[in-house]
């Protein structure tokens, strides 16, 4: 990852976030500073529970460097979520033979630099297991399992060592950052890989495996035409022809759905949401991106699809049938989105 790409992946709108935080602070005079920050993070969809956030902030506040405070840590947590979305974009695009290569390649391309960056806000004495636990906390989504910091710390304490060079007169810490990163991130990358490539074993029913062909390689939705369409619209604001929109959506769907393969909605829902929002977001100008963050876009599309979910959830259709069905739905979503873009 080039330096400018890394800086872009880390970039968050700190000024805007600071504004949100100040607003929450002014509305929550009865809360302690740590409770206010926790509320701020929950509002940013970092985790669903305030108590879990407080536990993390409370533990790491004594590990922060002098001159930094818990609010800085909170911003880093938000930044980590933004960084995660950038790394997942890469994971979607890249075709790895297996998750082991995905783990190594993603750590090399993304997290080695991140490790160097994040260590700068902590004291030198922070233990390696505390960092690997922090990586697990920062980069997990905790959608399904609750965030139990003590359990995570205990688990990492057992397997991640902080080693000092005993031969030196002054005990010098030995760099073991790659192993720390692997301990904190391997499971996360493995799960993301499995989810994205659609090979998550628990979702595959053996009997269905025999009946229908499963695409071997992980497919992605390619929305380059949609991205270009939105980019042009943002710059010249000329009305988009219905035909153009239809063709772009069709290209997007055909890049994933192949005739002769059958698909179930739950197999591709997440990949579709991520693929479409990523391409829409990439097409937006920086100004619009500030008003319409990626998370909001994902939320909007997810809500939109939820309207139809009950009718399509159980369907097991051929790729071409899905293309036909979804073309209308996504066309409607995009049309509404574009029409409201400057309102």
């Amino acid at each position: 990852m080039l330096k400018n790409e890394f800086n872009r992946a880390l970039k968050i709108d700190k000024e805007r976030l600071q504004g949100y935080y100040e607003r929450i602070k002014s509305q929550s005079s009865s809360l302690t500073p740590i409770q206010i920050i926790a509320k701020f993070l929950v509002n940013q969809s970092i985790t669903p529970s305030t108590s879990e956030v407080i536990e993390v902030l409370d533990y790491y506040k004594s590990r922060i460097l002098n001159g930094k405070d818990i609010l800085d840590l909170a911003f880093e947590w938000i930044r980590a979520h933004h960084f995660r979305s950038e790394y997942k974009k890469h994971l979607i695009k890249e075709q790895y033979k297996d998750y082991n290569i995905a783990v190594d390649d993603c750590i090399f391309l993304f997290f080695l630099n991140y490790d160097e960056y994040i260590r700068k806000i902590f004291i030198e004495d922070i233990k390696e297991f505390e960092l690997s636990a922090l990586y697990q906390v920062f980069f997990s989504s905790f959608d399904k399992d609750p965030l139990k910091l003590n359990d995570i710390l205990e688990e990492h304490k057992r397997k991640v060592l902080t080693i000092f060079d005993k031969d030196e007169r002054i005990n010098e810490r030995i760099n073991t950052n790659i192993l720390t990163l692997r301990s904190g991130l391997s499971e996360i990358i493995k799960n993301d890989y499995n989810e994205i490539s659609g090979t998550k074993t628990k979702t595959i029913n053996n009997s269905t495996m025999k009946k229908r062909p499963i695409p071997i390689k992980p497919f992605i939705f390619d929305g380059t035409m949609i991205e270009r369409l939105i980019k042009f619209y943002c710059f010249n604001k000329n009305k988009i022809q219905e035909r153009e929109l239809e063709m772009s959506v069709s290209q997007f769907l055909k890049s994933y759905f192949k005739s002769g393969f059958s698909y179930r909605f739950e197999e591709f829902k997440e990949i579709l949401i991520r693929g479409l929002t990523d391409h829409i977001y990439s097409g937006l100008t920086e100004e619009i991106k500030d008003i319409r963050p990626l998370e909001t876009l994902e939320f909007q599309l997810s809500n939109f699809l939820n309207q139809y979910e009950s009718s399509i959830k159980e369907k097991d259709l051929d790729g071409s049938a899905w293309t036909n069905d979804l073309k209308i739905m996504l066309g409607t979503f995009l049309s509404e989105f574009i029409n409201n873009l400057f309102e």
Binding site: Y96, K97, N100, I101, D104, D105, I107, F108, L112, L161, I163, D167, I174, N175, T176, N177, I178, L179
Partner: protein, 345 residues
């Protein structure tokens, strides 16, 4: 990419100079070929051990060797390999040196810089760190052979995954180089000649620049040595209709950098090559130039029959193009060590 069009090997030498290797076999190879391949690791690492042994005070690292491949005649689809690169990562700590070396033959130009970074920043540190952590956790029960086998498998898979992508253009600050030597090589079926041209042995400039390269001896043997190793590798992998030509050898020692660049031409079944030994130089030095300048000069000798002596003087007037140092016999190389690598006073 079709896997069978690849040649890929990864070696690790530890602080005790034990060598462990991992080679990918994409084709069926005879046992005889496999035994030749198994010996390649030590042969490729030879000059690395040599620089290490000879130059205790100078921590020179051989970073990379790039060779182009040309076909003798019409090649079969199996032999479509167009580039051959050797990449090395040497890690020095408390006078202990470990080396991780990789050779890659591929049909594409490959993003070699990215692969080299993976070697230096991820695969090699992962081995060093993993060994330390495992020794601390497992103590005497730690099985290094099993560990290194896994790490090399992990490393070779990561390199293999990176292959097939186009070489990226990286923005780099333009570097000026100063030429300290020229190597002229000629090769045909029954002839092999190699000469070094440099400063006069009593020229103070020779002493001044001696420390900017590993040694004249090492620089003189590297091109032919590695070209021969690459030929052996190609033969062992049944690529018999292609042959390599060294394009660039890159060495470094902290902030010092030494480059060897070579161009070649084949006429009447005879291969003629001209290579330049370059060191990084001050912008202000009037005799320093960028890489394109040097490559153009040697191409002119090859393609436009420009006079060799005149061109060498244009490259660096202090290099004597009339006194050649033979480099293809042990006796001649000893002479180089005695007269060029030792300071005159």
């Amino acid at each position: 990419m079709q896997d069978k069009n690849l040649i890929l090997g990864l070696f690790y030498s530890d602080e005790e100079k034990r060598v462990f290797d991992k080679i990918k076999y994409y084709d069926f190879l005879s046992e005889e070929n496999k035994s030749i391949i198994r010996a390649l690791s030590l042969r490729f690492l030879g000059p690395i051990f040599l620089t290490e042994g000879m130059l205790k005070k100078n921590d020179w690292i051989l970073n990379s060797i790039e060779a182009t491949l040309t076909s003798y005649k019409k090649i079969t689809t199996q032999e479509i390999i167009q580039s051959f690169n050797c990449l090395n990562s040497s890690h020095l700590s408390k006078k202990i040196r470990t080396n991780l070396f990789s050779f890659i033959g591929s049909p594409y130009t490959e993003d070699i810089k990215l692969i080299h970074q993976k070697l230096i920043k991820y695969i090699h540190p992962s081995i060093i760190q993993g060994k330390i952590v495992n020794e601390n956790i497992k103590g005497n029960e730690f099985d290094f052979s099993e560990f290194i086998e896994n790490e090399l498998t992990r490393g070779i898979n990561l390199i293999e995954h990176s292959l097939g992508s186009a070489r990226k253009m990286y923005w780099e600050e333009k570097q000026k180089y100063y030429c300290v030597g020229v190597i002229r090589r000629k090769e045909s079926v029954d002839l092999k000649l190699s000469y070094l041209y440099t400063f006069d042995y009593d020229d103070p400039l020779k002493d001044k620049h001696c420390s900017s390269i590993p040694s004249f001896y090492i620089m003189a043997i590297l091109p032919d040595y590695y070209e021969t190793r690459i030929i052996e590798t190609l033969r062992a992998f049944n690529r018999i209709n292609i042959y390599p030509s060294i394009k660039q050898i890159d060495l470094s020692n902290q902030n010092k950098k030494a480059l060897y660049v070579e161009e070649f031409l084949i006429t009447n079944n005879q291969k003629e090559s001209y290579g330049l030994i370059l060191i990084n130089s001050d912008e202000k030095d009037k005799n320093s130039n960028d890489l394109t300048f040097y490559k153009t000069k040697i191409r002119f000798i090859l393609d436009k029959n420009k006079n060799f002596e005149k061109t060498v003087i244009e490259i660096n007037p202090r290099i004597n193009p009339f006194e050649k140092w033979n480099t293809d016999s042990p006796h001649a190389l000893t002479k180089i060590q005695d007269l060029l690598d030792k300071k005159s006073n």
